[in-house]
Symmetry: D2
C-alpha cells in the first residue's frame, strides 16, 4: 500500500499517521524522493482504504497487490519525465537513443563518437570507464581520468553521459561528471550500491541481471526508489540460456511485461542482447515494436580495434542507418497504437 | 559438400561419380527430392572443387563449411517457393499468416474460425487434432474424425490446413486431409518422424524444441531435406529458461540467425512464445521486424471456453486488429531494407 | 483419486461403480495393468472417501493430491519388484547396475563386454541399436540385426538387455529380444510411444528429458502406467543448462525428490550426466549417496575407437574399480539409514 | 605463465627480470601474497621456459594453459593449509564443516547454536549479519552490532566465524570480528569487492554465482589471489535452471571439475543447493562422495520461526545426525581412493 503524503505534512502529523496505520500493517517505510513523499506499508490482511484516505496529511492511497510497490504501474499510470541538463529529457512520449563505445579508450575515440552523435542528433552517449571483466588481467577501463576527459568534451558538445557505476564509493566520485548512472548486469543485485543510488538526485538505469528474473529487476528498482530516487530506467539486455550461437538471449517478452507491470521507461540493449554486429539492427527494431521506450547500443570508430566488445559494435555508417530505421519503426508503432 | 546433379544422370554415371568422390570424402549420401537430385558428401580434408566440378553428371558443386549442408544458405541464396493447393504459396517474398485454435473442438468452432480467416484474407488455418499433453488425463484431441470434418469445411472455403503430426503412422493417415505437416516442439528430435516426413511431397513446418538449440533445429530440417523433402519451414516458438512470468522465452535472436544461416523460410509463433493474450501482438510485431517471413498464432471464438491454450488465444477482434498491424509492420520492413 | 478394484469385479459392478463416482469426479479412467485393476478419477472439489470406500468391488481408495496419480508415493509406500527373466529382479532393496557401450557395434565388442559384465557380476547390459543422432549423417546404429546378434550372445551368458526404443513400430519388433525398454531423453514426451509401452508386459526405463522438469518425468511415467504397464524405472541423466564445461548438468536434487514423490525405482546415469570419463566415478558415487536405486553407465573395450560417446565410456579396469566402490557406497548408505 | 620468485629478490633484480620477460609476454603482473611472490605473465606465442628458468631471482616457472593462472592446479599440486586462529585449519586433508543459521537474529539464537556446534565438534559457524534480499522491505540483518555480539560469544567458545561481506567498506569494518569472509552468490562478480579482499590476510570463501559458470568462479578466485590473498575456498551452492521443484539446481558436476582444475579447497552448500530441509542430508552426502573438502549448511534452534531460510534450515537433532553421517561418508571416500 502506498500513501502519497501532502508536501507540507509536519512531523507530528506524520507520526500520528504512522501510528494510525499500525493496526493495518506489518511494516511502514518512509520514502522521500525528488518528486514526492510516501509511506510504503506492507499490509496484514485486507485494508479498507476509506479508513485511511481521510487521515490528515494523506493526499492519496493506492493498494498495490504486487510485492514491489513504488515501481508498480498499479498506482501511477502517467509516468513522469526524467529531466537531464539543458532541458533534455527521457520520456515515454518520445524515442530515446543512447549510443557509444563499450569502453572510453582515448581522446580521438571520444571526439569521433561525439561528432557522430551530434551529426545524428543523438543526445546521450554511453561508454565505460570502469569495466567489469571476468579476468583480472583484462583491460579494466581508464577510470576517473578518462571520465573527466570525456565529460569535458561531451559537455562542450551538449551531449549527456551515461556510464556504469560499480561500487558505492564511485557514486559520489562520478557525480559531477555524469548525467545518468548505469547499474550493470552483474550489479543488478548489489543492494548496497542500489541503496546508495537512492540517495542521489541523478537518474539511474538498471540493467537486468545476467540471469535475473523480470521480478528481480523490478525489486532492484524498488530499492533505488524506496531509497529516495524516482528517476529510474529499466534495461533489457539479454539473459543467459543454453543457446550459445549468440552472446545472450534477448528476452523480448520482458519488454511488454515490464511496460505492463511498471510505470518506468524501458530501454532495450540489442548489442549485448545478441552480441553479433550484423544482427544488432533487426533486434533493435524488434525491441521497438515490442514497446521499448528507447535503445542503447554500442558503436566504435573502428570496431576491429576496440579494446572490448568490438564484435558487437557498429561502424558509424551502420549506426547512422540504424538510427534512421529505428525512428521510422518508432513512428509506425505510434500510428498503430 | 553438395553436388547438384543433372536431372538426366543415369545410374552408371552416378556410380562412376560416387566412386570418383571416394578419395575426397568420408561418406556420400544420395538425396532425391521433389526439386532436385544431390549428393551430400562429408569431406576428408580440403577438396579442390575444380577436380569435381567437371565430372560427368555434375551440375554444380558447393563446399558448405557448416555441419548441416542442404539447409545451409551457403549453397542456395535464392529460396524456392513452397507451393500449396490452388496456387497458394509460402514464400519469402510475401507475408505468410497461419492462424487458428490450439485444438479443433467441434463444427461450430471450425465454422466460426474459417469465417474469420476468410474475412481477414488469411489462407492457412492451424489447429490440433492430436494434442501432445503432459498429463495422460488431459484432452488429447479429436483425432482423424476431427481432421476430416475440418478438412471438408476448410477445402470448401479455400483455406489450407496445417496440423501437428505426432508419429510415423499419422504421416500417411493424414496425408489426404492436410496441406502442411507441423512437427511440434516435443518432436523436433523425433528422428523417425523426420525421416518419414522426408518421404512425402507435402510441406513440413518444424518447430524449435522446447530446449533445442538453433543448430539442432537446422539439423532436424537437414533430416527431412536429406530424406527427400525440400519444402520446409522453420518456426521459432520460444525456449525454456528460468524466467517464469511468461510461458516460454521467445528467442528473438533466433530469427536473424536462422535467416542468416539457412535458405528456409522462418515463421514466428508469438502465442506460445509469450503465452499471455494481451502481449501476443507486440511479440508478433517484434518477430516481423526481426525478419520473420510469417507469423503463426492462436485464436478462438471464445477463448475463455477453449479446451486448451485459452489464455494465449486471441479474440476475433484482437486477431483482426493484429493482422492489420502485422501487414503494416511487414510493409515497413520492406521499405527499410 | 485412485480406486484399487477387486480382481474378480464384473462388468456390471464396474459400471455401477463408475456411475456412482460420477457426482464426485470430472473424469474416470480405467487402468488394467499386469499387477492390478484401478480407476483413476480426477475429483471435483472435496471427496468424502467414506462414501466411496464401501462401494461394491472397491478394495481400497487413495486420495492423491498430486496431478500425477498412479506413480505417486501417496498411495503406494511399498514398491513392488520388477521381475526379469531367470529370476533376476530390479528392486529398491538391492543395488541395480546396468552397463555397456553407447552403441552395439560388432560381435567382438559384444563378446568383450559380456565377458566383462559376467566377471563383475553385472546382470543387465545397456547398448543402443537405434541411435538418436542430431545429424542425419552420423552413425545411426545396427538396427534389428544388431539386436538379434546381441540378444543371442546375452541370453547365452544369462545377461539381460536394456536398449532404447525410438518409435511405436519398434515396440513389437524388439519385444522378443530385449528385457527392458529404454525411453531416451529426446523421447520422454513422445506420448504415442509412451502409450504403446503401456500395452506391453516388459519393464520400461524412462529417462528424464534433456530439458524436462521432474514433474514432466513423473507425468511421462503416468502415461505408461495408466496405459497398463506398472513395471517402470525413472532415470536422471542430466539436464541442459548454461554450463558448458560438462556435457549436461546432472540434477542430483532430482534423486531425493523423485524418491520422495514416487514409488518407482530411480536410476542415475553419470555417463551422460557429466560426459567426461575421469569424472564418471565421483558422480556415480554421489548419485548413490543421494538415494539412487541403481546406476547405468557406459563402458567400451576401447573407448578411443568407440563409434559414439567414447569420451565418457569407461575402460574395463575403470569399470571394475567403480563397480566395487559403488557397492561399498551403497552398503554405507544402507548402514546410515 | 607463473614465475615463483625468490623471497629475497631485490628491486633491481625484479626489474631486470620483468624487462627480460618483455619479449615473450603481452603483460606481466606482480603478485605478492601472504605466502609468496609471483609474476603472472600472459604469453605471446610459445615460450621456452629454459630461457627464463635460469634468470636471477626466479625460483620456479610454470606454463599454465588455462586463462586463469594462479588458481590453476597446473602449477600447484599440493595445496597449502588455510590457517585460522587457535591452530584451527581448513585443509584438503580433513573434513571441514561450517554450520549455523541463515541470519544472526539475537543472543539466545547465537547461544543455542554455539552450544550445538561445540557439542558436535564443529569449529566454524556461519551466519549473516548483512543479508542480501531481493526486496528492500525484507529483514536485512543486524549489521555490525550483531556481528560484535556474535564474535564475543564465538570467541569465548573457540568457534570461528564465517559471514558474508557485501561491499568494500565492510571488509575493514568486519576485519576484527570474523575469521573467514564469504562472498555471496550475488557478489561473485563484484570485482571491486574481490580486489579489496585481495588486500587482506584473512581467508575468503567465494560462492558460485546464481548463474555463474565454473570458469567464472575460477576467475573470481583469480581476482582475489592476484590481489594478494592466497587463502581461498570455492563453494558450489546451486545454479538457476528451469527446474522449479527445488530452490536451485546443485551442480554436483562442478565438484570434481573444480577439484581437477584448481588447487583450492571446495565446499558444498546443500542447504541452498536444494532448499528443502528433508533433502539436505542426501545432497550433503552426495557432495562429499563427489569430492568436496567440506560442507556448509544451515541450521536453526527453531526453523519454523527463522527470519530467513527456515524451510531449508535443519533442526539440531537433524544436524547432529547429519554430521555423524557425513563423517562416515568422508571416511569411506578416503578408503576408496
Amino acid at each position: 500500500m502506498i500513501l502519497q503524503l501532502e508536501k507540507n505534512i509536519n512531523n507530528i502529523q506524520k507520526e500520528d499517521l504512522i501510528s494510525s496505520l499500525g493496526k493495518f500493517t506489518k511494516s511502514v517505510s518512509e520514502v522521500q524522493t525528488q518528486k514526492g513523499f510516501y509511506l510504503v506499508a506492507l499490509e496484514k490482511g485486507d485494508v479498507d482504504i476509506r479508513e485511511i484516505g481521510h487521515l490528515s496529511g494523506v493526499k492519496d492511497v493506492h493498494v498495490v497487490s504486487d510485492n514491489y510497490q513504488l515501481v508498480s504501474k498499479k498506482w501511477k499510470v502517467n509516468p513522469a519525465e526524467i529531466k537531464l541538463r539543458d532541458g533534455d529529457i527521457i520520456s515515454q512520449n518520445h524515442f530515446n537513443i543512447m549510443a557509444g563505445p563499450c569502453s572510453i579508450e582515448n581522446e580521438e575515440q571520444v571526439d569521433a563518437v561525439i561528432a557522430h552523435l551530434v551529426e545524428n542528433n543523438v543526445k546521450i552517449m554511453r561508454g565505460g570507464v570502469y569495466k567489469p571483466r571476468s579476468s583480472p588481467y583484462s583491460f579494466r577501463g581508464l577510470g576517473m581520468e578518462g571520465l573527466k576527459m570525456w565529460h569535458d568534451k561531451a559537455k562542450a558538445a551538449g551531449i549527456k553521459i551515461i556510464t556504469e557505476v560499480m561500487q558505492v564509493s564511485q557514486v559520489e566520485e562520478m557525480y559531477d561528471f555524469i548525467d545518468i548512472y548505469q547499474v550493470g548486469a552483474r550489479n543488478t543485485q548489489n543492494f548496497n550500491l542500489l541503496d546508495e543510488l537512492g540517495k542521489v538526485d541523478k537518474p539511474v538505469m538498471i540493467k537486468r541481471g545476467v540471469s535475473g528474473t523480470i521480478e528481480e529487476l523490478l525489486y532492484s528498482a524498488e530499492y533505488v526508489f524506496s531509497g529516495g530516487n524516482e528517476d529510474l530506467i529499466l534495461c533489457e539486455r539479454g539473459i543467459r540460456t543454453f543457446e550459445n550461437m549468440t552472446r545472450n538471449t534477448l528476452d523480448i517478452n520482458a519488454i511488454p511485461v515490464l511496460k505492463d507491470r511498471s510505470h518506468l521507461p524501458v530501454v532495450v540493449d540489442p548489442s549485448h542482447g545478441i552480441g553479433i554486429r550484423k544482427h544488432v539492427e533487426p533486434i533493435a527494431l524488434a525491441g521497438i515494436m515490442a514497446g521499448a521506450d528507447g535503445v542503447i547500443f554500442e558503436l566504435h570508430p573502428n570496431p576491429e580495434k576496440a579494446m572490448s566488445d568490438g564484435q558487437q559494435s557498429l561502424y558509424f555508417e551502420e549506426s547512422a542507418a540504424m538510427i534512421n530505421k529505428m525512428k521510422k519503426a518508432y513512428e509506425l508503432r505510434g500510428e498503430l497504437n
